[in-house]
């Protein structure tokens, strides 16, 4: 009897594995192998042609000690992430709250605010080169009409990164949609109870809406931290690092190192450093979540 069961289980396991094998094989060849191989190559000097040479931690040493552009690109990316992540969250939250009220044309407005996030990155990049054009861009025209100083966005190393942040916030309709979904999940009776207790709109947002949105906020934070470290397409199309390397983001430099100078080993080392940074950030966000994310169960 036992024998029969185990035979059945074996057959089931085998069939199961066979059914998932297309994924397993694909995952192994296209994800797992490159993942492991890139770790090996990060300790080598490798230019695609010819054999790779084992050079130990030399790539890492050069990155941390000698390469100024590595530090510059890391700084640029951190600068961008530090501005973009909280800003996109706050703006997304504000729009979501406004679009959750009972106004006319609500679904139309939702669609409008979501639209920018589905425009192809390359297209929106070209568009924003024009929007942020220092002389004739719509933003500077408006600023000048209001008699405000108009920054020379992509011609000024001090304003080029904020330019990217504005563009990315514009395109973060995804955040708004996720928060909207979260908002619809907040039970109405909580608000009614609060109103009976004399709470105003601010009280309701701070004490009811925000705590109940924390799971969605955690998700958004993790996704946007990862996303902001992956900044590449627009930077490659719009400024390619200029002016004065002020928009040389980490991935743009990684690409240059690997596919312009063909230092694959060096590129792999950079990729692994990026992985460690993003992993640590995501992990610490996750760890901290126990203290501020509310999952709807009462703690005893």
């Amino acid at each position: 009897m036992n024998f029969k069961i185990s035979k059945l289980r074996m057959a089931n396991t085998r069939n199961g594995l066979l059914f998932v094998s297309p994924f397993l094989i694909g995952f192994g060849i296209f994800y797992l192998y490159p993942f492991i191989a890139s770790f090996y190559y990060s300790f080598t000097s490798y230019s695609l042609v010819g054999e790779s040479q084992w050079i130990g931690v030399l790539n890492y040493k050069e990155l941390f000690i000698e390469d100024d552009l590595f530090t510059t690109s890391l700084y640029n990316t951190l600068y961008y992430a530090t501005l973009f992540v909280p800003l996109s969250l706050v703006v997304g939250l504000m729009i979501a709250l406004l679009l959750n009220t009972n106004i006319k044309g609500k679904s139309g407005l939702r669609a409008i605010y979501f639209l920018p996030s589905i425009i192809p990155l390359a297209a929106s990049g070209i568009l924003w080169v024009w929007i942020l054009n220092s002389r004739y861009g719509i933003i500077n025209e408006t600023l000048r009409a209001l008699r405000l100083p108009a920054p020379r966005w992509f011609s000024d190393p001090n304003w080029s990164k904020p330019g990217y942040v504005i563009m990315s916030v514009w395109a973060s309709g995804q955040t708004m949609i996720i928060l909207l979904a979260g908002l619809t999940g907040v039970p109405r009776q909580l608000y009614e109870v609060a109103e009976l207790d004399g709470a105003n709109w601010l009280h309701k947002i701070v004490y009811i809406t925000l705590p109940l949105l924390t799971p969605a906020i955690l998700f958004i934070l993790i996704i946007s931290v990862i996303g902001s470290f992956q900044m590449f397409t627009q930077a490659y199309i719009m400024t390619d690092g200029a002016p004065a390397n002020s928009t040389l983001f980490y991935n743009l430099y990684l690409y240059r190192v690997s596919f312009r100078y063909f230092k694959m080993g060096y590129g792999c080392a950079m990729a692994w450093i990026l992985f460690v940074i993003v992993f640590t950030l995501a992990w610490s966000l996750f760890k901290s979540s126990a203290r501020w994310v509310y999952y709807g169960r009462e703690e005893g």
Binding site: D68, V129, R135, F154, S155
Partner: protein, 441 residues
């Protein structure tokens, strides 16, 4: 039921006859023809979309002239060329012939290109002295020849004659020295009521002179000490020239100058083409290919052009020349199995097809023998540009030349935006390139 079966039989037999027929008519003669022909595979960045007929013209013409060889041409966009070649070499299946940017130094040093010395020695039709010396210099590395040249370009100075007249300058005499250039630039610059520029006289880091080396050379500076194997970017004469560029940034404001350039920007490399063609800059150092772009995009602009780009007092003429070349990638099968066919194509493409290309698109011929032909010599613009090849300064024979030039571009930006002093910026380049050179040892 029976009817159906019958019709099935008919269909089956018809299909069978069709297959047999196809085999007889198509496959068999094709196979026998293939046995005779040697197929040469060729990857080229030409045509870019504007010149669509080029790759088909090359293929058709060569195949007609050489019935025993089959040329198979694949056009690949410029910026994807290396991305495609390297994996192909790594996989052991590169094309037989590959067209790439001049000079060949890095491809040779990294082991992507094969030496061609023997083939050249045995071919009386291929003589190095038939090319401009500067062009041939670019296909050699460490005593070996690695490629055959294709077309060329050169460095030329352009000025807007209408602006010269309006500013009270003689439209027929461009500035000769930097001191004159600076003075003219000031006179030609126009501001609007808000204090923004409408026209900039000159921007030293724009157009083709985004490359810094030629300014250094013009001042007698060097960038590489080949005997000591040392990078010399921070040569005081180079520093002096970078400080001269910084002078422009300080006087006119780098951000403000950039803002004007943005007006002509399309989110890519089109900036500099646009500025002069749109009448936003009065003088410009450009490539020899630039006049055809002005004629196309700024047909109303009355401009002059000269091969004598302004130089510092006591300096010398020293231009830049680039273009493309063709080489045999390492591991290519054609050169082992049917070297005659591959070489036949390379020679034909480099010597016979090159002038046709140059004539089509306004590029320069890289062999003096063609320069005097009426189709090139009758156009004064082409003539001036071709003569500019003779003023070309050789590139430093450094394997990491791309890296070096990128580093210099960045150094110029650091300096003009005041992020580093001219000397510091060039010293940092020296250090970075020296370190990069270690990779090639």
């Amino acid at each position: 039921m029976r009817k159906l079966r019958k019709s099935n039989k008919i269909v089956c037999s018809l299909v069978g006859m069709l297959i047999v027929g196809l085999l007889i008519s198509g496959y068999i003669p094709a196979a026998s023809a293939q046995e005779k022909k040697a197929t040469v595979t060729f990857w080229t960045p030409f045509p870019v979309p504007f010149y669509e007929p080029w790759s088909s013209w090359v293929t058709d013409t060569f195949n007609k002239l050489h019935p025993q060889i089959k040329l198979d041409t694949t056009p690949i966009p410029w910026d994807r060329l290396e991305d495609k070649l390297l994996p192909a070499i790594a996989a052991g299946n590169p094309p037989d012939v590959f067209q790439f940017a001049r000079p060949v130094f890095q491809s040779a040093a990294m082991g992507h290109a094969q030496p061609l010395d023997e083939l050249i020695e045995n071919d009386p039709l291929v003589n190095p002295e038939d090319w401009y010396p500067g062009v041939w210099y670019d296909v050699t590395y460490e005593g070996h020849v690695y490629a055959l040249p294709f077309e060329s370009d050169s460095l030329v100075f352009f000025w807007n004659k209408d602006y010269f007249k309006k500013a009270g300058l003689d439209p027929e005499s461009p500035p000769e020295y930097l001191s004159e250039l600076d003075l003219y630039a000031e006179k030609l610059t126009k501001k609007n009521a808000q204090g923004d520029y409408d026209v900039l006289g000159f921007t030293p880091w724009q157009g083709r002179s985004v490359e810094f080396m030629h300014w250094g050379w013009k001042n007698g500076g060097t960038f590489y000490d080949s005997e000591a194997g040392r990078i010399t970017a921070a040569d005081p004469r180079n520093v002096e020239m970078l400080e001269w560029e910084v002078g422009y940034a300080k006087k006119y404001g780098a951000e403000k100058m950039g803002a004007l350039a943005e007006r002509a920007q399309m989110g890519g490399g089109a900036t500099a083409v646009g500025m002069f063609c749109m009448g936003l800059s009065a003088m410009r150092v450009g490539g020899s290919f630039f006049w055809s772009q002005i004629d196309k995009y700024g047909p109303d602009i009355d401009y002059g052009m000269t091969r004598y780009v302004p130089i510092p007092k006591g300096g010398k003429n020293a231009g830049i020349s680039e273009g493309t070349l063709i080489f045999v990638p390492v591991g290519a099968k054609g050169i082992k199995e049917y070297p005659e066919a591959v070489w036949e194509f390379m020679r034909w493409y480099s010597i016979n097809a090159m002038p046709v290309w140059s004539l089509q698109v306004g590029d320069l011929v890289s062999r003096p023998e063609y320069a005097d032909l009426w189709m090139f010599a009758s156009n004064p613009k082409v003539k001036e540009c071709t003569k500019a090849i003779e003023l070309t300064h050789p590139w430093p024979k450094v394997a990491a030349l791309w890296f070096y030039r990128d580093q210099l571009k960045q150094a110029v930006e650091y300096a003009i935006y005041g992020k580093k002093t001219a000397e510091q910026a060039l010293k940092d380049v020296e250090k970075a390139v020296q370190r990069e050179m270690e990779r090639y040892k």
